[in-house]
């Protein structure tokens, strides 16, 4: 018996068998990480600039915190309302936070499709690419916020791929849209960005 086990060990070299970590697509992961950071900061900015986003967050409970991320293991973006009702991008660390709502995209490939606008958020839901942990109406509210933010952030030709319906001039005047876009970009890339990155490191 002993000799058999010895020969198996020798043949397969079990004692020195290396642990094989799962493959990581660093470029795609990095891209999704950056997109989540930009969208997260833009949501914070839009909650101050856009009335619809402000109202949606106003209807959510006090100290409401949610994340949007990629399963398993991230990257994530965490957004929360503070005591005063201000919406903040809290970074990418989930640890030590009380999360009310989690939106996980099932894998990196699906997340990449969503964030390269090959698929709209609604289409991704239809293809069952999301896992919702928490209250469904709140998840729908968050998805609506993401849609609005994408309309503000992206040029029309790309935003039309990301949302079901791009608003007409009568719903969102070009002046207001561009003004909001500038304000959102300025707020997103303000010194607060460095502060939040520093806190999450």
């Amino acid at each position: 018996m002993k000799s058999i086990s010895k020969s198996v060990n020798k043949t397969l070299n079990i004692s020195r068998y290396p642990e094989i970590p799962p493959g990581t697509k660093l470029i795609k992961k990095g891209y999704v990480f950056v997109m989540l950071l930009i969208v997260g900061r833009a949501i914070e900015a839009a909650s101050k600039v856009d009335q619809s986003v402000k109202k949606i967050f106003g209807d959510l409970p006090e100290r409401f915190t949610f994340y949007l991320g990629v399963a398993p293991g991230g990257p994530y973006m965490v957004i929360g309302k503070d005591k005063q009702g201000n919406v903040k991008y809290l970074g990418w660390n989930l640890y030590g936070r009380k999360i009310d709502l989690g939106l996980d995209i099932k894998n990196l490939e699906s997340a990449f499709k969503v964030f390269t606008f090959q698929e709209s958020t609604a289409q991704a839901f239809a293809y069952d690419r999301f896992i919702v942990e928490g209250n469904l109406p709140q998840a729908l509210a968050v998805v609506r916020v993401i849609d609005i933010v994408e309309i503000h952030l992206l040029p029309k030709v790309i935003a039309r791929l990301a949302v079901k319906r791009y608003p007409k001039w009568s719903e969102l005047s070009p002046v207001k849209k561009h003004l909001n876009r500038v304000r959102i970009y300025l707020k997103s890339f303000s010194p607060g960005l460095i502060k939040v990155i520093y806190r999450n490191l």
């Binding site: 709502l101 709209s120 609604a122 289409q123 839901f125 239809a126 293809y127 069952d128 690419r129 896992i131 919702v132 942990e133 928490g134 209250n135 469904l136 109406p137 998840a139 729908l140 509210a141 998805v143 609506r144 039309r160 791929l161 949302v163 079901k164 319906r165 791009y166 608003p167 007409k168 719903e171």
Partner: protein, 418 residues
């Protein structure tokens, strides 16, 4: 032919259909190691003698537990919590749900609480919370519409917040669905009409909404054909058990279809009306269905047109030009509503203003339309509608559906990728 980039499909509830299907239940429950079921039903079903019939059919083979019959029109989480307490106190090991949508959804809610523990159903809100196999559940539908016996969803109201909560999990699929023509024999013609139109809305929406897939399509088309061939006949000839069995099967097939393809704005608006005005779900569905098709026509004309073969039959399909088929489908659904209205002596409503509550008052006053429109954002079906639906759009649709006028197509906002 449409083939999505990705889809998943699951329909694993064992179905028994036909004469004497009820007599097979004890054997199937024994196979699941269950012999003391709690019966959940409503007063109407019990008064119609269906519970006695079910008991007789079981004979002495089961130790049937208590019968809970106080289910409201809309399933309510407080009732779920109350029944869960009874289930535990009476040491039941399974559930028999005998009734329509509210009863079935309540039974699914009870099964979550009794199987997973916890004090209240509210602990399990949201997708992904139910992740373990639940206790044995057998569903005996007494209407021909909900299709809940085949769905992984339970819609249960929170009366305090005026919202309907959706519980979604593959573990909510029952172990057994029993289709016996005796179960729907006593269903009055106007309820047969409303519930079968609900099934038709499941099949149609699953066919043209965003999560459509080839397997669901097959179930949807067969269900539509069965409903269009049998519904008016059953309403006029309620004793035709064979036709009733066809409708019961159609409801189940539509349930399979929409459970795997989801539904859109017809259900989005209908759920919201139900949560606020407490009107029968089937009535809302039958009224809103043609509006849902009109609203999505610019995105889904091809798929809506394909429904004509099942809905109008091969001759009508062949006689209608391809570009006229979608409009013909909408016209046929409207005509079916008119025919059902006539066949039920006006009890089947054609417009929202024709729905009355038991006190004889208008159930949906025009003044409520704005509130309904504002609340559509909280319902998950909105996500699967091909065209975006925001409160202003819903308000426009509701006004037309209330008055009974076709949509003003110029008011439909369009934009985005088709």
């Amino acid at each position: 032919m449409f083939m999505p980039d990705f889809y998943d499909f699951c329909s694993r509830a064992k179905t028994i259909s036909g004469e004497n299907a009820l007599e097979k239940i004890p054997g199937h429950l024994a196979g699941l190691n269950a012999n003391r079921p709690l019966i959940i039903t409503d007063k109407g079903v019990e008064d119609a003698g269906l519970i006695d019939m079910v008991r007789d059919a079981m004979g002495d083979e089961l130790q049937i537990g208590p019968v809970y019959n106080n289910i409201p029109v809309d399933s309510d989480y407080k009732v779920v919590d109350e029944i869960a307490g009874i289930y535990s106190r009476e040491s039941c090991d399974s559930i028999l749900a005998v009734g329509g949508g509210s009863v079935i959804d309540t039974a699914k809610g009870v099964n979550i609480v009794v199987s997973l523990g916890g004090g209240s159903l509210l602990d399990y809100q949201g997708a992904g919370k139910v992740r373990k196999r639940l206790n044995p559940l057998a569903i005996l539908p007494t209407t021909t519409g909900t299709g809940s016996e085949m769905t992984l969803v339970a819609v249960i109201a929170d009366p305090d917040r005026h919202v309907k909560m959706g519980f979604v999990s593959y573990f909510l699929l029952p172990d057994l669905a029993v289709l016996d023509p005796r179960l729907t024999k006593t269903l009055p013609p106007f309820l047969t009409a409303a519930t079968a139109m609900d099934a038709l809305s499941h099949a149609c929406e699953s066919y043209y909404c965003m999560e459509k897939n080839p397997l669901s399509d097959a179930f949807a088309l067969r269900a539509i054909r069965a409903i269009s061939e049998n519904l008016l006949h059953v309403v006029k000839n309620p004793d035709d058990t064979q036709a009733r069995l066809e409708l019961a099967n159609a409801s189940t097939m539509a349930g399979v279809a929409f459970s795997n393809s989801m539904v859109g704005m017809v259900h989005n608006i209908g759920h919201t009306i139900g949560a606020i005005c407490h009107v029968p779900h089937g009535n809302c569905m039958s009224i809103l269905m043609p509006y849902g098709m009109e609203y999505n026509l610019h995105r889904r004309a091809g798929y809506i047109g394909e429904l004509l073969f099942a809905l109008g039959g091969p001759e009508t399909y062949a006689q209608t030009r391809k570009n006229e088929r979608p409009e013909k489908v909408i016209a046929l659904v409207r005509r079916l509503n008119e025919d059902l209205h006539d066949a039920t002596d006006g009890k089947h409503p054609r417009f929202l203003k024709e729905i009355y509550n038991p006190q004889g008052e208008q159930a949906i006053p025009k003044s409520m339309l704005s509130e309904i429109a504002r609340n559509i954002m909280a319902d998950g079906a909105r996500m699967y509608n091909p065209e975006e639906l925001l409160p202003d759009d819903a308000r426009m649709v509701l006004e037309h559906a209330w008055e009974g006028t076709p949509l003003d197509r110029r008011k439909i906002k369009k934009g985005g990728k088709k």
